[in-house]
Amino acid sequence: MTKTYPKASRPSLDNVSVSIEKGEFVFFIGPSGSGKSTIIKLLLHEVTPNKGRVVVNGKDVTSMRSWKRPHFRRSIGCVFQDFRLLPNRTAYENVAFALEVIGKTKAVARRVVPEVLELVGLGGKEHRYPHELSGGEQQRVAVARAFVNRPLILLADEPTGNLDPDTSIEIMRLLDRINRTGTTVVMVTHDSNIVNQMRRRVIEIESGRIVRDQARGVYG
């Protein structure tokens, strides 16, 4: 597919064709501005392609009406470089918020939130506010929030971009653990260390085109 933003002089993604299987773990790598985040946005139905189709979870979402988007998003978890946590809510409340705003009851939240916080390694820190947590811990909260609804797909846009190498590896292990539960993980990264260690499928993009698609690949 092709995506050209309004007012942009050239396409951000140019005739890109990728297929990702259920349960796969895929890295998207490439220089800044190459179009990696645009892929995430297309998968989230935040933008739509100018040409071609986007199929997610077996459903063609290319021309999905915007009122159907909320329901569609519930099957996708998402993590970003800047965590996007609510600063005036504790770790527990941040995760519970994601459940409650899609109509889950407080009782459900009380059952599943401690579970998922335990899973990401934050047991005992449920009642800390984001500013009382390290960057790595904040990102764990974000991962917990993305995963609490047991999505089929987890998207991560440079999730380790703000973290030191050791913390990055920990987050990486966490995403790997989530992938092993059967969740498809799509991760955009700059971090050669991580890519080289994991030996998973690597798709490299340059100026909106795929220049490499390698199973068990390494960085550059």
Partner: protein, 291 residues
């Protein structure tokens, strides 16, 4: 559960931005007060027109030196006229009685006038009050007639003034409504900005559009309803104050505005306040949050 969340969000939202909320409520109140007021006036003017024009009379005043024959001839002619529904002869004494009643407040004036000085007249009711001109043309040259006075001319003037008031109130209501709309739009933008992180997370995790919008829209609706309550209180205050002032004298002339009239305008004011606020908030959110 979700309702509780939405309601607490609404109250927090209104309180967080309390100066703006107050401004919004006051403008809304003034606008709705003017709207309610002009609605009442419209209704009253309608009632009064029916009442007054129904009873409108043409008075044919006779010269003081008109002879008995001339008076009787005129009376017969009027009785046979197809334009005339009914005519009554008013002699000097009856005229004086009416005069006394009319100016009961001014005894000096009454004592200065003697029955002799008042003219005799015919009070003529027309089948169609609009036909005044035809009557006037027909009788202006008849012997013994001094002047012909059409009450509807006077009524036209009175109603002209009243509908002027009404249009003025409507115009103010409109201008204030525009101000209220802008304030609602602005308040909603500020509210959406202060909750932008929450909204971003809600969109990300797939909260439904109505769930994201409901607290903002309800915030505006609550302000609109408060505004309409204030507007109602203002109408009540005007009635109470008017009853105790010189306006009370007008009550005999203008059919009085009853309490039930006032309370019946409240649903209108509340509906306009609520719906207009809700629509404005919703449209603002569509542009601002793109949800």
């Amino acid at each position: 559960m979700r309702m509780k969340y939405v309601l607490s969000e609404v109250l927090v939202g209104l309180w967080r931005n309390v100066t703006m909320t107050i401004a919004m409520i006051i403008t809304m109140a003034v606008s709705l007060f003017m709207l309610g007021g002009s609605g009442l006036l419209y209704q009253k003017v309608g009632d009064m027109k029916d009442l007054y024009y129904e009873n409108v009379e043409v008075s044919i005043f006779l010269k003081t030196d008109a002879t008995k024959e001339q008076v009787d001839a005129l009376g017969q002619q009027l009785d046979q006229d197809p334009l005339v529904k009914d005519s009554t002869y008013v002699n000097k004494d009856q005229a004086y009685e009416r005069f006394q009643q009319m100016y009961a407040d001014a005894p000096d004036l009454v004592s200065a006038v003697k029955p002799d000085q008042l003219p005799e007249s015919y009070r003529v009711k027309l089948n169609d009050p609009e036909q005044y001109k035809a009557i006037y043309d027909k009788y202006k040259t008849a012997e013994g007639i001094d002047t012909i006075v059409d009450q509807s001319k006077l009524l036209d003037k009175v109603f002209g003034v009243l509908s002027g008031f009404q249009n003025g109130a409507l115009a103010i209501a409109m201008v204030m409504a525009v101000a209220a709309l802008l304030l609602v739009a602005n308040t909603i933008q500020v509210a959406a900005y202060s909750k932008r992180r929450e909204v971003a997370v809600m969109k990300l995790v797939g909260a439904s559009n109505w769930f994201i919008q409901a607290p903002f829209v309800l915030e505006a609706v609550v302000a609109g309803l408060f505004g309409s309550i204030l507007g109602l209180l203002a109408l009540i205050a005007v009635k109470v104050l008017a009853a105790g002032s010189s306006m009370a004298a007008l009550e005999g002339l203008i059919t009085p505005i009853s309490w039930s009239d006032i309370f019946l305008t409240f649903p209108l004011m509340a509906a306009v306040g609520g719906v207009v606020s809700a629509v404005t908030a919703w449209v603002t959110l569509r542009f601002y949050l793109r949800v």
